[in-house]
C-alpha cells in the first residue's frame, strides 16, 4: 500500500514536470511581459524541422566586424541583427532592433528607439550600451572594420550618444542621402562577450571558427550549435529571438539550419538534385536548366526571380601609364576616343550574350543599373539595338579605315588589335569574351582572349595596369547608388578604368563627381534620383564601361517549404530564414 502511494506520487511528479516543461516551451514561444516583439506578415507556420543548404567554401570567421567573404557572411547574418533593416523584397527600410527612428529636419541627427525586452541568444539582455560599444568598435581605426567607410559622412565619423537605456542619437557632420539605410549591415555586438577582447586589442581575432558556441551570441534568429571543419556548420534556434508571427508565436520555426561545405557550384547542384540540400540559389542558367528538367520527379521547384543586381561589362585601360608599357599606351590612343568606345558598344550582340551565355535568363544592359533595381534605374536611357553599320560609321568618323582584306586600321595605318583579360574561373565571362571576339572581328578588329587567375587579374587592374581591355562584373549589395560610389567617383578605388585619380581626368568624370557629391547630401529621394539619372546618362554617353548583360537570379527549393520568398538582393533565399517552415516535415 505504502509502495503504491510512493509510486503514485512519483507518477504525479513526473506528469507535473512534463507539464511544466511543455508550458515552459509554449511560454518561451509566446511573448513575455515587457517584450516588444516585431510581428511579421508571413504565413503562420509550424515549428520544427531542419533546413540544409550548401556553401561553396568554408567560412573564414564568425566575427561580423572582420568578415569579408561570402560564406562567412551567409552564416553570420543568420545569427546577427542590425538596428534598421532593408527588407530584401520591397527594397525599403523597416524597423529591426530599433522599433522607430526620427530624423531632424536638417538631416543631421537620427534618434533611434530600441525595442523593449531584447535578449542576446545566450539570454543576456541588450541595452543602449551594447549599441554604443558596437559602433565604437566599427569606428575604431585599429579594428579595420570593412564597414567603417560607411560611417564617415562629410569626412567625419558619425558620433553616437545615449539618451537613456532605450534611446540613442546618431549625429552626422552633414546631411546624408542614404538616411536610415545606413544602419543596415551593422550587427549589434554583445558587450558582455567582446568587451574584454576589444580592450586587449584582440577583437579582430575574436570569434574564430574555433570559438566554443557558448562564447558566441547575437540577436539573429539562430545561434551556433556545432562546426565540423571541412564538412558542415550547424545553427540552432535562438529561443530569445524578437520576431513573432501574426498569431504571436515566436520565430524562428525551424529547429536547425545546417550549412554543408562543397567545393564547386556543380557539386552544389548535384547535392541539391540528390535531395541532400533543401535550397539552392545564385546558380547559373545551364545548371538551372538541368535541375528544372527533373523538378517534377524529384520534388523540388525551380524559380526564375528575374534580373538581380549583377552587371557585367567590358572596359578599356584608360590609366595614365606615365611612359611605362608603351605597347598599351599606343593602343590607348584608340581606347581614349569616345567614338571608339561607342562603336564597340554598337557592335556588341547583347541579345546573343543573353541567349548563348544565359540561355535567355538574363537581360541586355545599356547602363549600370539593372531592371532588378526598382527604385533607381533610369528608364529613359537609350537602348540602341546592335548595329555594325553605326559602329563602322563611328569608327570612320574617328579616322579609322579598312584595308582590302577587311582589317581595321587607325589613321596611322596601324592594325587594330587588343586583348581582353577576364577571370578564367568564371565560365560565363569567358563565354562573353568569345562572343565579343567574334563581334569585333566583324569590324575588322583582332581580339585575343587572356584567361587569368582572379588574383592575377586584380593585380593587373589595380596595381601594374598591364592590360588592354577587361570583362568584369560587379554585384551591388543594395539598390542605393551609394554602395557603388567608389566605382563612379574618379578618386574611387574601384573606378575600374582609371582608379584613384588625383583630379578627374576628363570633364565628364568631373561632372559625375559633382553629381555624386550633390546626391550624397540631397535630402529628398526625387532630387537624388534626378541627379543619379544624369549620372547614368553621362556613363551611357561616354561608355567608360560597355555594359553587356545582367543575369536573372535563379533559385530552387524543395517542395513544402513555407514562406519561401527569395529576393534579388543579398541574402537571396535566406533573407527571411526566421519565417521559413516545413509544411510536412521532410523525412531525413
Amino acid at each position: 500500500m505504502r509502495r503504491h502511494t510512493v509510486g503514485r506520487m512519483l507518477a504525479a511528479i513526473l506528469v507535473a514536470v512534463a507539464l511544466w516543461n511543455a508550458t515552459a516551451r509554449a511560454q518561451s514561444n509566446r511573448p513575455q511581459a515587457g517584450e516588444e516583439l516585431l510581428v511579421t506578415g508571413g504565413e503562420v507556420g509550424r515549428y520544427g524541422g531542419k533546413l540544409v543548404v550548401s556553401l561553396r567554401a568554408e567560412p573564414k570567421t564568425l566575427n561580423p566586424v572582420t568578415a569579408v567573404d561570402n560564406p562567412s557572411k551567409e552564416i553570420i547574418w543568420r545569427t546577427m541583427a542590425d538596428l534598421v533593416h532593408i527588407n530584401r523584397l520591397t527594397q525599403k527600410t523597416e524597423p529591426s532592433l530599433a522599433k522607430s527612428w526620427k530624423i531632424t529636419a536638417d538631416g543631421l541627427h537620427y534618434t533611434l528607439k530600441l525595442r523593449r525586452g531584447l535578449r542576446f541568444s545566450d539570454g543576456h539582455p541588450l541595452d543602449a550600451d551594447d549599441v554604443l560599444f558596437s559602433f565604437e568598435v566599427y569606428l575604431d581605426e585599429k579594428v579595420h572594420a570593412s564597414q567603417r567607410d560607411l560611417l564617415i559622412v562629410g569626412g567625419k565619423p558619425v558620433t553616437v550618444r545615449k539618451l537613456d537605456a532605450e534611446t540613442l542619437v546618431f549625429d552626422l557632420a552633414q546631411p546624408y542621402g542614404v538616411a536610415e539605410r545606413l544602419f543596415d549591415g551593422f550587427a549589434i555586438l554583445p558587450r558582455h562577450l567582446l568587451q574584454q577582447a576589444y580592450r586587449e586589442g584582440k577583437l579582430a581575432q575574436a570569434w574564430s571558427l574555433a570559438t566554443p558556441p557558448a562564447q558566441l551570441a547575437g540577436l539573429g534568429p539562430f545561434r551556433l550549435k556545432e562546426y565540423v571543419p571541412g564538412q558542415r556548420l550547424v545553427l540552432e534556434r535562438n529561443p530569445y529571438y524578437w520576431k513573432a508571427d501574426r498569431q504571436g508565436n515566436r520565430l524562428p520555426y525551424l529547429d536547425e539550419v545546417a550549412f554543408l561545405f562543397v567545393p564547386s557550384e556543380d557539386a552544389q547542384v548535384i547535392r541539391f538534385q540528390a535531395g541532400d540540400t533543401d535550397l539552392i540559389w545564385r546558380l547559373n542558367a545551364e545548371n538551372f536548366a538541368v535541375l528544372a528538367r527533373q523538378q517534377q520527379a524529384r520534388g523540388y521547384t525551380m524559380s526564375d526571380l528575374g534580373p538581380g543586381l549583377e552587371y557585367n561589362f567590358l572596359f578599356f585601360n584608360l590609366n595614365d601609364l606615365g611612359g611605362k608599357l608603351p605597347q598599351i599606351a599606343r593602343k590607348q590612343k584608340w581606347f581614349q576616343q569616345v567614338a571608339f568606345r561607342q562603336a564597340i558598344s554598337a557592335a556588341v550582340d547583347r541579345d546573343g550574350i543573353v541567349r548563348l551565355v544565359y540561355q535567355g535568363r538574363a537581360v541586355p544592359l545599356w547602363g549600370q543599373l539593372t531592371p532588378g533595381n526598382k527604385l533607381w534605374s533610369n528608364d529613359r536611357l537609350p537602348r540602341p539595338p546592335r548595329s555594325l553599320d553605326r559602329a563602322r560609321q563611328l569608327l570612320r568618323g574617328a579616322g579609322f579605315s579598312w584595308k582590302r582584306d577587311g582589317t581595321l586600321v587607325d589613321s596611322e595605318g596601324e592594325a587594330v588589335d587588343f586583348s581582353i583579360v577576364s577571370s578564367a574561373s568564371n565560365a560565363e565571362r569567358m563565354k562573353m569574351a568569345t562572343i565579343l571576339q567574334d563581334d569585333f572581328k566583324q569590324l575588322g578588329m583582332q581580339v585575343h582572349i587572356v584567361p587569368l587567375e582572379f588574383r592575377a587579374l586584380l593585380e593587373r587592374l589595380f596595381q601594374n595596369h598591364d592590360y588592354e581591355a577587361c570583362i568584369l562584373g560587379l554585384l551591388s549589395p543594395d539598390v542605393d547608388p551609394n554602395v557603388d560610389i567608389n566605382v563612379w567617383l574618379s578618386r574611387g578605388g574601384q573606378h575600374l578604368w582609371n582608379p584613384g585619380q588625383a583630379k578627374p581626368a576628363t570633364p565628364w568624370e568631373a561632372e559625375i563627381d559633382g553629381l555624386l557629391e550633390r546626391q550624397l547630401t540631397a535630402k529628398r529621394f526625387e532630387e537624388r534620383k534626378r541627379l543619379y539619372d544624369r549620372v547614368q546618362q553621362i556613363v551611357a554617353e561616354n561608355q567608360p564601361m560597355v555594359f553587356l548583360a545582367s543575369p536573372h537570379l535563379l533559385v530552387g527549393a524543395k517542395n513544402g517549404l513555407g514562406n519561401f520568398r527569395p529576393a534579388v538582393l543579398d541574402h537571396y533565399a535566406l533573407w527571411n530564414v526566421e519565417e521559413l517552415f516545413w509544411r510536412d516535415r521532410p523525412a531525413r
Binding site: 556543380d266 541567349r355 548563348l356 540561355q359 535567355g360 563565354k431 569574351a433 571576339q437 567574334d438 587569368l452
Partner: protein, 343 residues
C-alpha cells in the same frame, strides 16, 4: 599477314587518318570560328536516304533542327524541309595544308540550314569542323614534340654513350631526374612561368617546346644503351684503328644502329605527346579561343550541365581512339621488325 604487310597496312591507315586531318579544310564544311548564334548545342544532323513518302534518294538528306519556341537548347526536326547534302560546294575560304588558299569543300548544305554532322557547340559552331581542325593542332603538336624529343634524346644519348666518363654520369643523372619528375606538374610549372598573353600560334609553339624538352630522358637512355654496345664492336675498333674521327664513327657505324630504337620510340611518343597537348588544352593552358584543339574541345565537359545534357560533346574524345590504336599497332609492328632484322 607477315610483318611487312602488317606494317604496310598500318602505315596506310595512319596516312589516311593524317590525310583527313591535314586536309581538314576540304573535308570540313565550315569555318572553325563561324558562330550560328540561333543554334547553340544543336544535336547531330541525322542523314537519311529514304524520305517520308518512302522514296529512296541516292543523295543523303537531313531535316534541319529548329529551336522549339520559347526554349533554349531544345530542338525538333523540321520535317517539312528535306535539305540535300551537296558535294564539292564552294564555301568558307581555307588554306590547303596551311598554305594554298581554296574554297571547295567535300560537302555542305544551303546556308539557311547548316548541316552539323556532330552537332554544334555553345556558340553554334560546327563540331565536326572543329574536330577536324582541332586534330591539326593536336597531331602537329604531338609530331613536332616527338621529333624534338628524339633529336635531343639522340644527341644527348649518343654523347653519353660514346664518350662515357663524367659526361655520361652527368647526363644520365639528369635523365633520371627528368624521369622521376611528375611530368604533368612540371608542364604546369613551366607553363605558369611563361607569359599568358600570347597569340594562339605562340601558345602552340610553346606547348611543343615544353612537351618536347621534358620527354628527352627515355629515348636518351635507350640510345645510350645501343651506342654503348655499338662502340665496342670489332668493326668500330677497326675503323678507329684506320684513323677514323669520332664524328665519322658516330655517323657511319654507331648511329645507324639506333634507328630501329628511335622509330619504335617515335611511335610510342607521338600518342603520348598528343595526349599531353590534349591535357594541357583541356585544363585551359593550351591554345586559346577560337582556335580548336582536341583538348579544348573537350574542356566544356568540365561543366556538369554539358556533361549531363549534350552527349555529342564527347565525340572529339573518340577522335583520339583510331590515332592511338594506329600508333600503338605501329609501335609493336616496328618493334617486331627491328627484332627480326637484328636477329
Amino acid at each position: 599477314m607477315d610483318g611487312r604487310t602488317k606494317l604496310g597496312v598500318i602505315l596506310v591507315v595512319l596516312a589516311v587518318l593524317h590525310g583527313v586531318v591535314l586536309f581538314a579544310g576540304f573535308f570540313a564544311p565550315y569555318d572553325t570560328a563561324a558562330q550560328n548564334r540561333e543554334l547553340p548545342y544543336v544535336p547531330p544532323s541525322r542523314l537519311h536516304f529514304v524520305d517520308q513518302q518512302g522514296n529512296f534518294h541516292l543523295r543523303p538528306f537531313f531535316y534541319p533542327w529548329v529551336a522549339r519556341a520559347g526554349s533554349y537548347g531544345e530542338y525538333v526536326e523540321d520535317r517539312s524541309r528535306d535539305c540535300a547534302l551537296r558535294f564539292f560546294v564552294t564555301g568558307a575560304p581555307y588554306r590547303i595544308a596551311g598554305f594554298l588558299p581554296a574554297r571547295v569543300h567535300l560537302f555542305g548544305a544551303d546556308d539557311s540550314a547548316p548541316v552539323f554532322l556532330f552537332g554544334s557547340d555553345a556558340y553554334g559552331r560546327d563540331l565536326f569542323t572543329r574536330m577536324l581542325f582541332g586534330g591539326q593542332i593536336s597531331l602537329l603538336a604531338g609530331l613536332l614534340a616527338a621529333g624534338l624529343t628524339l633529336v635531343v634524346g639522340l644527341l644527348l644519348g649518343a654523347l653519353a654513350g660514346f664518350y662515357g666518363g663524367w659526361l655520361d654520369d652527368v647526363l644520365m643523372r639528369a635523365a633520371e631526374l627528368f624521369l622521376a619528375l611528375p611530368w604533368l606538374y612540371l608542364l604546369f610549372a613551366i607553363r605558369a612561368f611563361l607569359p599568358l598573353q600570347i597569340s594562339p600560334a605562340q601558345a602552340f609553339l610553346l606547348i611543343v617546346v615544353v612537351i618536347g624538352l621534358i620527354g628527352w630522358a627515355r629515348p636518351a637512355r635507350l640510345v645510350r644503351g645501343v651506342v654503348l654496345s655499338a662502340r665496342e664492336r670489332d668493326y668500330v675498333y677497326a675503323a678507329r684503328g684506320f684513323g677514323a674521327s669520332d664524328l665519322y664513327l658516330l655517323r657511319r657505324h654507331v648511329l645507324p644502329q639506333t634507328f630501329g630504337v628511335l622509330l619504335t620510340q617515335a611511335a610510342i611518343l607521338v600518342p603520348q605527346f598528343i595526349l599531353a597537348e590534349v591535357t594541357l588544352s583541356f585544363l585551359g593552358l593550351g591554345v586559346g579561343e577560337p582556335v580548336p584543339s582536341w583538348g579544348n574541345l573537350l574542356a566544356s565537359l568540365q561543366h556538369y550541365d554539358v556533361l549531363a545534357s549534350y552527349w555529342w560533346m564527347f565525340l572529339p574524345g573518340l577522335a583520339l581512339v583510331p590515332f592511338f590504336l594506329g600508333y600503338t599497332a605501329l609501335a609493336s609492328a616496328l618493334h617486331e621488325r627491328v627484332r627480326a632484322i637484328s636477329i
